[in-house]
């Protein structure tokens, strides 16, 4: 369910939020009661609250991810230096071996 709510790209969500924010701002500036009622009837306020709520959920997920993969996180992977050194030494020896090969010119 959460996935379907956040399927939109962040930029699209941002654009939508800004649009709603502008609708609210414009309508609040209007003096006619009827227009205000009309615009609130379309419930941009609730929608904005919902978006803010959604954003907080996204932040929580992102924070968890940061902790999981970040420095000291349980999914953090350090490069296996032992393997790196082993391979580097193998390549070095191999290069010497190939260079010393008797070849057909």
């Amino acid at each position: 369910m959460l996935k379907s709510r956040f399927d939109q790209l962040p930029e699209e969500q941002a654009k939508r939020a800004i649009k709603l924010y502008n609708v609210l701002k414009t309508n609040q500036a209007k003096e006619e009661d009827i227009s205000l009622l009309e615009s609130y009837a379309r419930r941009p306020n609730e929608e904005l609250s919902k978006i803010v709520g959604d954003l907080e959920t996204v932040m929580k997920i992102a924070d968890n991810m940061k902790q999981k993969y970040g420095r000291g996180g349980k999914e953090q992977i350090a490069v296996n230096t032992e393997l790196v050194n082993e391979v580097k030494n193998m390549l070095k020896e191999q290069l010497t071996r190939v260079t010393n090969l008797e070849v057909v010119k």
Binding site: P10, Q13, A14, A17, I18, Y21, L48, I51, V52, L55, E56, V58, M59, A62, D63, M65, K66, Y69, G70, G73, E75, Q76, I77, A78, V79, N80, L83, V84, E86, V87, K88, M90, L91, K92, E93, Q94, L95, R97, V98, T99, L101, E102, V103, V104, K105
Partner: protein, 226 residues
């Protein structure tokens, strides 16, 4: 407030994604490193085999200079990318392909060398199997040497094994004192094909049979031919 929240969320998402990407790229790097180790081990075995074939004078040097250069470049590329933690599948594939090239060249060199090296022993074992002290062993040796002509050894111990069989075969053949004499060889070939006649029993052949106590190992079958 909304814009602040959006900005904050974006920053947190971006940082989290970066961490995740790093973890994924380290995983990929290590996976390629393991592949490289396997490819490299195989190439090392193949190079050892090349060195050994030349060292034992089983084959003349057969790796062209251009191939040597290709292998060197592939090794250097893998080394640089390993150093920079940027090892990718393409670099490993290039070394693998250089290793396959070494194998193809080694196989061809081996087949040519083995053909010359083992043919004589195989032929002698085949034509004189009935005269040798252990026909079963002689037959097995001939088969093993024949198989080796088409199946190059995968390691130095493979070369050792087949060379040991060659030595054993030569020892057995030596007991016949044939000394590569074409007349004796031709006689044995005819006997094997059941084509020998009384005319083939020349004084030289009779002497050879007597001197090596082989006269009793032959039976004459009389038949007249038109």
């Amino acid at each position: 407030m909304i814009l602040d929240k959006l900005q904050e969320t974006n920053t947190v998402i971006q940082t989290a994604l970066n961490y995740k990407d790093n973890a994924a790229s380290i995983k990929e790097y290590e996976s390629q490193l393991t592949n490289l180790k396997n490819v490299s081990t195989l190439l090392n075995n193949r190079l050892e085999l090349v060195e050994e074939l030349v060292k034992r004078k089983i084959a003349e040097p057969f790796i062209p200079e251009s191939t040597q250069k290709t292998i060197q470049e592939a090794i250097c590329q893998c080394g640089e990318k390993t150093e920079e933690l940027k090892l990718d599948a393409a670099a490993v594939a290039a070394l693998k392909s250089a290793s396959e090239l070494v194998k193809t060249l080694t196989d061809t060199a081996w087949k040519n060398a083995a053909d010359q090296r083992y043919s004589k022993a195989i032929d002698m074992l085949q034509i004189s199997v009935f005269l040798l002290p252990s026909p079963k062993e002689s037959k097995e040796l001939a088969e093993a040497l024949n198989d080796a002509r088409t199946q190059p050894p995968a390691s130095i111990s493979g070369i050792d094994k087949i060379e040991e069989k060659l030595r054993r075969a030569e020892k057995l053949i030596d007991q016949l004192n044939v000394s590569d004499d074409p007349e004796i060889v031709s006689f044995l070939e005819k006997v094997k094909e059941r084509q020998a006649t009384i005319n083939d029993l020349s004084p030289k052949i009779l002497d050879w049979l007597k001197n090596n106590h082989l006269s009793g190992r032959f039976k004459l079958s009389f038949a007249a031919y038109a």
